[in-house]
């Protein structure tokens, strides 16, 4: 009996460790494939170089780093206010029936594959921007809008849970003092949920920075640093996915090196989210 239990314990531990082993293997692999080219060029030259022209031996990924930053910030600018407003409505105001239907709809939104978002962006959003706002349509703006909608489910569901976790006694206390519902939300619920909201934003940021397919379809993928939101842009993930098919030799290494930079950015974001989320409990 006791033996059997130990056996199962070991078995489960092995399975759990293998998940970590896969992560370790991925890290080792991308570093092994990507670091030689960084070592040859120098890290500074690789991440501050503004020219990406692999067939001419020029590997600067600053346009892509900035591309990822602009597109992600744009997505947050669109997604965070919308997500926050939706979560406040769902958690604090909506009648239970409406809340259930809306929550279901948002879960559905999370289940739509990214290529579908990209396709809708391509056939509706891009021509709309080209015709009514200007530029070629493929742009920072198009990518930011598509990503802003894609990160909504993450932001809404995390914020909703955080709002629900604010003790009912706080709200009752405020109401007893004669505060209106909006005053209660503004002065008690939002401040109490602050670190949870920040964690939601960082999780949404991670989702936006890692998204590839939808961005390739609407961003235009130019390797120039965009100076206006109407110009085409290439993100780090798009750079890898676009060129991996045909890349060989140093070009392939440089794409893995792009992956290293992306990996470090995402690892930093996740750590940050964790620290913020933990500080909430104290």
């Amino acid at each position: 009996m006791h033996n059997k239990e130990t056996l199962i314990q070991w078995l489960l531990a092995t399975v759990a460790l293998s998940a970590i082993a896969v992560l370790a293997l991925i890290i080792i692999f991308i570093f092994k494939e990507g670091s030689p080219v960084i070592a040859r060029l120098g890290l500074a030259k690789f991440i501050t170089g503004t020219k990406w022209s692999p067939t001419r031996g020029m590997f600067g990924i600053l346009p892509m780093i900035l591309g990822s930053v602009w597109v992600t910030l744009g997505a947050l600018l669109i997604g965070v206010p919308m997500g926050l407003a939706t979560a406040i409505f769902l958690a604090e105001m909506a009648p239970p029936g409406a809340s259930r239907i809306l929550k279901f709809a948002i879960q559905l939104l999370a289940g739509i594959p990214s290529v579908v978002f990209g396709f809708i962006g391509l056939v509706i959003l891009v021509p709309f921007i080209r015709q009514w706002i200007g530029g070629p349509g493929f742009s920072v703006l198009a990518a930011a809008i598509v990503l802003g909608i894609m990160i909504l489910p993450t932001i809404v569901s995390v914020c909703y849970d955080v709002f629900k976790a604010v003790p009912e006694a706080y709200r009752e206390g405020m109401l007893a003092l004669g505060a209106t519902r909006w005053q209660t939300i503004k002065m008690v619920v939002l401040p109490a949920a602050k670190s949870g909201i920040i964690a939601a934003v960082i999780l949404g940021m991670g989702r936006a920075i890692g998204e590839t397919m939808a961005v390739i379809m609407v961003a235009g993928n130019a390797t120039k640093i965009p100076v206006s939101p109407l110009e085409p842009v290439r993100t780090l993930t798009s750079n890898i996915a676009l060129e991996m098919g045909y890349a060989i030799g140093e070009h392939r290494e440089a794409l893995f090196a792009t992956g290293i930079v992306l990996f470090i950015i995402i690892a930093l974001l996740n750590t940050l989210a964790r620290i913020v989320a933990r500080s909430e409990k104290v």
Binding site: K51, W52, T55, R130, I216, G220, A222, T223, K224, I248
Partner: protein
């Protein structure tokens, strides 16, 4: 050439460079390339089975219909930025290129761009279909793709007065042409030789023509005429 039913040919995608690389490392017997051999790939024996024209395409409503190579180069380099500079409407030009590493991009860069770089602000798409989709929707855009994939929604431009077509490719008057190459090591095995002669046969020429390519002129069965390097 007889058609055999008992030979299995495994085909793997990945692009021209991958094709040449696979033969050089002896992973595959035959590599398919949609551009000339370059660098250390020149150790391979090329057999040209067909030619493909790359068409410069614009929106059907774009009144411009002829450019010379210098103008195309200046447009893709970002030096000419408005259609009015090449005799068209006063509209900003949106350049659409293929991603680095693609055979179409390689051939375009080699024949049109030479040492000049494609403007970094160019929109980049990773398939012929995506390029066509953009051009079909944007009256200011210019791009390029295989002639076989040009349809009614886009307009192929003439280069120095010559429109891309089977005739102009055969006559070599249309300049933006790339070879479709089967690359092998020296002294390939019997199956490989048979396969290559099949690709040069009448039957294969029909298939190639149906796909919008221009098969090489008929020769006696066997190896291709001397590797054709002129352009």
């Amino acid at each position: 050439m007889s058609e055999k039913k008992n030979i299995i040919i495994n085909v793997q995608g990945g692009g021209s460079s991958a094709g040449a690389r696979a033969v050089l490392s002896e992973v595959a017997e035959v590599g398919m390339l949609s551009r000339e051999l370059q660098g250390d790939e020149k150790a391979l024996i090329p057999t040209i089975i067909a030619y493909d024209a790359i068409a410069i395409i614009v929106h059907p409503l774009n009144p411009s219909c002829n450019l010379d190579i210098t103008e195309i180069r200046s447009i893709f380099a970002g030096e000419i930025t408005n259609w009015s500079e090449v005799g068209g409407n006063a509209r900003k030009i949106h350049i659409v290129a293929r991603e680095e590493g693609s055979g179409t991009r390689g051939a375009f860069d080699e024949i049109i761009m030479g040492e000049t770089e494609v403007a970094p602000g160019a929109i980049v798409q990773d398939s012929n279909g995506a390029v066509r989709e953009i051009i079909a929707g944007d009256p200011s855009a210019i791009g390029y793709l295989s002639l076989g994939l040009v349809d009614k929604r886009v307009k192929a431009m003439a280069i120095s007065g010559v429109l891309p077509s089977v005739d102009t490719v055969t006559e070599k008057t249309y300049k933006l042409v790339r070879p479709m190459i089967l690359a092998t090591l020296e002294n390939p095995g019997k199956e490989t030789r048979d396969f290559i002669s099949f690709c040069l046969s009448e039957k294969a020429r029909e298939i190639l023509a149906r796909e919008g390519l221009v098969p090489v002129a008929p020769t006696a069965a066997g190896r291709s005429p001397k590797p054709d390097h002129d352009k």
